[in-house]
Symmetry: C2
């Protein structure tokens, strides 16, 4: 029967990747149904195959929407399957244009569900860049663009990135007071919406020991102005200190300048369990920091901790409960 838990929409990612496997494993922990109603979007065949692979005690059931009883039964996987992918059309471990097209459709459906309030947040299992390219689908964005800012979350370590895949040379030019304030403003409105008032933010320095021209001329003035605007930001803090301080609970989150300040910290500290979120998009949408792992697909050895974190994160933030404590 229906319950009043929030629904989340989970796209299965590339049907030829490990997405279906890790989703099924994550649901099999029982931890997801405890806090929300998970509703999948994608190929029911791919999910049935994964259920068999991991020998999970699930029936797979097609639904039309996340309404009513969808996602309430912990022994059942409910999935919205627009039929984009026929069972014989995909091969495990192989990118294809058809996969790319299907993923684009599933992602669009998930966006519509969250935009119309039918789910509180989305979760995206790993997509494959090659499949998207073959389908001619644009991956969009980058830092601060329409894709928002990359936000990695691994337990207490929460890291928003000012820049993403730009080369270091380009990222240096983007580290301006103006760009930082744009991010800080977004952060302030987002974290309030997510139920986290007065978050303690640590800004990572740009140069070693946070001592350099950019730290003095761009980062420091941005921090001063952000504090005037009511955000609780400290910094710039030496990059080799601030992430550890966040792990130890001194900050609620870190804003860093470069992709590999935050990514090195999160993935070296604890490789498994890193969920990704986009800051600056209008709705809560999480994903994982790993890929489709074509090399191990179908072997049953893919680790589900990252997508489990991503599901919990989507449910918690989407329903305004703040960051999960794990």
């Amino acid at each position: 029967m229906a319950n009043n838990k929030p629904a989340i929409g989970i796209t299965i990612g590339d049907p030829s990747g490990i997405g279906s496997e890790v989703i099924v494993k994550a649901l099999a922990t029982g931890e997801v149904h405890e806090i929300c109603r998970p509703v999948l979007i994608g190929s029911s065949h791919a999910i049935e195959q994964a259920v068999k692979l991991v020998k999970a005690p699930f029936s797979v059931h097609q639904v039309d929407s996340p309404a009513g009883e969808a996602g309430t039964d912990p022994n059942r996987i409910d999935i919205i399957d627009p039929g984009t992918r026929k069972p014989d059309e995909f091969k495990l471990g192989q990118a294809s244009a058809a996969n790319g097209k299907a993923m684009a459709e599933w992602n669009k459906m998930a966006q519509e569900l969250v935009a119309s309030g039918q789910v509180v947040g989305t979760v995206m299992a790993p997509v494959n860049t090659d499949s998207f390219k073959m389908a001619g689908v644009s991956m969009g964005g980058g830092a601060g663009g329409e894709q928002g800012y990359l936000f990695l979350i691994n337990g207490p370590l929460r890291i928003v990135h000012l820049t993403d895949h730009q080369p270091v040379r380009e990222a240096l030019k983007l580290a301006t007071k103006e760009n930082l304030l744009k991010l800080f403003d977004l952060l302030q409105s987002s974290i309030a919406k997510w139920g986290i008032p007065n978050a303690r933010v640590g800004l990572s320095g740009l140069n070693p020991h946070a001592m350099g021209d950019e730290d003095d001329n761009e980062l420091k003035p941005a921090v001063a102005e952000a504090n005037k605007r009511g955000l609780n930001v400290t910094g710039p803090i030496p990059p080799d200190t601030v992430f550890r301080q966040c792990v130890e609970g001194i900050y609620d989150l870190v804003v860093c300048i470069f992709h590999d300040q935050g990514h090195v910290a999160a993935k070296t500290w604890r490789f498994e369990g890193t969920a990704a979120l986009s800051l600056g998009r209008p709705f809560v949408g999480t994903s994982v920091a790993h890929g489709t792992a074509f090399d191990i697909v179908g072997k049953g050895i893919a680790d589900h901790k990252a997508i489990l974190s991503a599901m919990k994160l989507s449910a918690a933030l989407g329903s305004g409960q703040g960051f999960p404590r794990n």
Copy 2:
């Protein structure tokens, strides 16, 4: 009575800092005397004070050199004290010109001991930059200069830095094929000398995912050439992957481009226990990645794991036994 363990020379660092305290705590574990003969260089008064502070069961004994029985008795701390610092001349928690001058003399003595083969390696407890400045003592170097390349070691995570305190903007210019090969050549001769033939080296990329102009035009050709010269180097590897792979034993060490690739990895992964080594100096000399911690000096709460690691590392590498497994 004398034993045939290798002697190491340990300078006590700034006598007003936590150096003496962490040295005494490290020696009190008993683990250092098991593998080598530790001989201190510095103010015997500072060490006596630290022995009282941490209530360690040591007598403090002045010696002239690391010869004979020096460092053999685990119940005694043997120290070479040139008398540079009189007991009433230093105050805990305060930098001074006299401290700076004394540290310079102690470091010089340690260098002479290792150069003449009286000790196999040195260990430097934290020095204070202000004391050095007040004394007009130059701290020297930077990456690849006379101070060599900074090498951070924390258990299985071993990281050589191509650049050190240079701003990112400057470090970008130093990431050339030529500079990398200079480092690789040094590494090859050093690791053989340290008893580690065929070390598996992972080179961290410069840009996100190791995809960018510098990765293609400088790092890749350097790796190809280094392999021709007989070093086992793989890379460039995505920065957010290579350090984790080193933790997991896939590489014996990582060479990274920027200060805060390596420092963020080491200090976020496991803050305590990071020892520092200089690659490219003629003798083994280790230190720690933390400072004099004037804010907690004299309280008995300073952690000794880093200097304990540094002592074990100096003894192991100095006597050609390779990296300690801890």
